[in-house]
């Protein structure tokens, strides 16, 4: 993890991938939580593995934010419009989005229906992809861009894998289940 030079203003933006609605904490907890109600092992494995990868991405974002504020003092935070961070957390990290809104479990859905949950996961990957695109646009630091591009690409791969799993779950539900008017039941 490398940054060319500290940039408190950009740290304030990229913190959303730490504790924002489409950030890495939301992603990892969403998948590691939803895996329990998946209908077969393959789907459980995929959610476990992507959820675990997202935990690693969360560490990358944490390291990135920490390096972007390295050496910054009160005045630097004020100049970046992030004095609230300095007052409440100094150089400590905190789970918020780019507007300072704290992380909440409301960002995560778990409906217990594998089709619904996997569809949500695909949307989540697209939202994270878009957020990374906005962030890449907002920095000129080539090292930071590199890191964000790597994370951007992973969202694309995860979307692909979730899509494949959604197809399989759809097929499985159609083969082994019957629609009884309001829910799927085993045939």
């Amino acid at each position: 993890m490398r940054v060319s030079c500290p940039d408190v203003k950009f740290a304030k933006m990229v913190i959303t991938q730490y504790g924002g609605p489409d950030g890495e904490l939301s992603a990892s907890l969403r998948y590691l939580n939803q895996r329990y109600s998946m209908p077969f092992n393959k789907a459980k494995a995929l959610l476990t593995d992507i959820g675990t990868e997202e935990l690693a991405h969360m560490e990358m974002i944490a390291a990135l934010v920490y390096k972007l504020i390295q050496g910054a003092d009160c005045e630097d935070f004020k100049a970046a419009g992030w004095e609230g961070q300095y007052v409440q957390h100094d150089h400590g990290l905190f789970w918020t989005d780019a507007n300072g809104v704290p992380w909440t479990a409301k960002y995560i859905a778990a409906l217990g229906d594998p089709i619904t949950d996997l569809t949500e996961d695909m949307a989540a990957e697209q939202k994270a992809r878009t957020t990374y695109e906005h962030l890449i646009e907002c920095t000129d630091d080539p090292c930071v861009k590199d890191t964000l591009r790597f994370l951007w690409e992973r969202e694309v791969v995860h979307f692909q894998r979730f899509g494949e799993m959604l197809n399989e779950v759809n097929e499985y539900m159609g083969k082994c289940h019957i629609w009884n008017g309001h829910k799927f039941e085993k045939k």
Binding site: K42, L46, D49, E59, A62, A63, V157, R161, E164, E168
Partner: protein, 84 residues
């Protein structure tokens, strides 16, 4: 401290770990692709070798029973991912 060599070795481990993660996710949805399983197993072999070389020189990459430690306790001296 010869940081450059250590970082280069860590980078090779990270690269091979990335190969393993990517193949792992692919195999989760394509479990019958034998070529991919062979590639995955190659990545496992390569990773074991790289990690062994690294740990012999610089100490444990993992704690909680996955790696040995010299004396004194080496884990607290390792460069952690968030410090690299």
């Amino acid at each position: 401290m010869n940081c450059e060599k250590q970082l280069a070795m860590l980078k090779r481990i990270q690269e091979m770990e990335f190969v393993a993660v990517e193949l792992n996710l692919y195999l989760d949805t394509h479990p019958c692709d034998e070529d991919a399983i062979n590639d995955y197993n190659c990545a496992v072999d390569a990773l074991c070798k790289l990690k062994k070389e690294y740990e012999e020189e610089y100490g444990p990459l993992m704690n909680f029973g996955f790696s040995y430690s010299d004396k004194p306790w080496q884990w607290i001296e390792s460069p952690w991912p968030w410090e690299m």
